[in-house]
């Protein structure tokens, strides 16, 4: 829960959006790469995250360690980071 002192911005009407100020320049994987990684049993998610300016890595979310041996170390010239977790559930 955010601190009460940080919530003052909720007490005034929303400021207008000037055009679309957010320009998405994040990298995306090709559909082919996504399909190939998601086809590995135990892989439940794939995406690209920036770890520093101009440095991206491919995150492969796994729920089963048997997937490990089939995941490449590099994908589309980006290093792969394995994230182990519980199955993703509809909340």
């Amino acid at each position: 829960m955010p601190q009460k002192k940080d919530l003052g911005f909720l007490n005034v009407p929303p400021a207008p959006v000037q055009g679309n100020q957010n320009t998405d320049q994040s990298k995306r994987l090709s559909d082919e790469t996504v399909s190939r990684l998601m086809a590995i049993p135990g892989v439940d998610g794939v995406w690209v995250e920036s770890v520093a300016r101009n440095i991206d890595e491919v995150v492969v979310y796994i729920t089963n360690s048997t997937a490990l041996s089939r995941i490449p170390a590099v994908v589309e010239n980006m290093p792969v980071r394995i994230q182990r977790g519980e199955p993703i559930r509809a909340y």
């Binding site: 955010p2 911005f9 957010n22 509809a90 909340y91």
Partner: protein, 264 residues
């Protein structure tokens, strides 16, 4: 805030069956979880649900883009909250609070299921988990709620902005209430469990993490996600999570799929 002063002894389910026995302890003031209570008119961020589900979150209000839906005031949430993951029928009762929080139909009805985008469980890629429910105008309100020394209300903007990594965002939801976090990735592909062995693949999603604690938990599904700044501009519709990461549909895709505009 509606404080309850009482005794904690036998903890019961909403249906009254005992869940856990324990020694009776005289308590001080208990902060009843207002995001799970019955509230009229019902704001965004509060418990809601199809009469056959547990509970999710009322995201916000919308209106249709084309007649005759332009005159309809509609609740926006997930398919799995308002349409019982494809099992619902148009016209079904939507209760506030959701059934797990004690809502019953027709006594607590606020809307009827109006439209939903079917979720495909055949391995093909989904982009949204969303639905609308046609509300009685006097039973809902445009504002979202949060708790700070009582129930407080605020508006979000009606013009969406694009999700980008690093963007600070917030949400008001049934379970974890008001939280903030940051978008960690866009263009996310995930496999999502819907229970009973049903799994849906979702593409072009947004991932979010909180700096501390969880940005969301079960029951927060359907929450509107907006920029944590003066604009409070809508960004996404929360629908899934796992191991501390929250996943959301892009709000632009949601509005296009349902053919609605935000009414905030």
């Amino acid at each position: 805030m509606v404080p309850i002063e009482g005794r904690v002894g036998v903890i019961t389910s909403p249906g009254g069956a005992p869940l856990m026995d324990g020694p009776e302890v005289v308590t001080g003031v208990i902060d009843a979880s207002q995001h799970r209570m019955r509230l009229r008119p019902a704001p965004g961020g509060i418990s809601v649900g199809h009469f056959q589900i547990t509970a999710g979150t009322l995201g916000c209000l919308t209106r249709g883009r084309h007649a005759p839906r332009t005159s309809r005031l509609m609740i926006l949430s997930n398919n799995h909250v308002l349409a019982n993951s494809n099992a619902g029928s148009i016209g079904d009762c939507i209760a506030q609070p959701g059934p797990f929080d004690g809502g019953h139909c027709p006594a607590d009805q606020v809307a009827i299921l109006e439209r939903f985008v079917p979720i495909r469980f055949d391995g093909s890629v989904n982009f949204v988990d969303c639905a609308t429910a046609w509300a009685w105008p006097d039973r809902v309100r445009r504002e979202l709620m949060y708790i700070s020394g009582g129930i407080r209300y605020f508006n979000v903007g009606s013009t969406p902005v694009a999700a980008v990594p690093g963007l600070a965002v917030g949400k008001s939801g049934r379970t974890t209430q008001l939280t903030s976090g940051k978008i960690t990735a866009v263009g996310v592909t995930i496999r999502v469990n819907y229970g009973s062995g049903r799994v849906g693949v979702f593409g072009d999603q947004i991932s979010i993490r909180a700096g501390q604690g969880d940005f969301s938990q079960g029951g927060d599904s359907g929450s509107l996600i907006w920029t944590w700044d003066a604009r409070r501009a809508p960004v996404g519709l929360l629908f899934a999570g796992g191991s501390g990461t929250t996943f959301a549909n892009r709000i632009g895709r949601v509005l296009d799929a349902l053919d609605v505009n935000l009414y905030t």
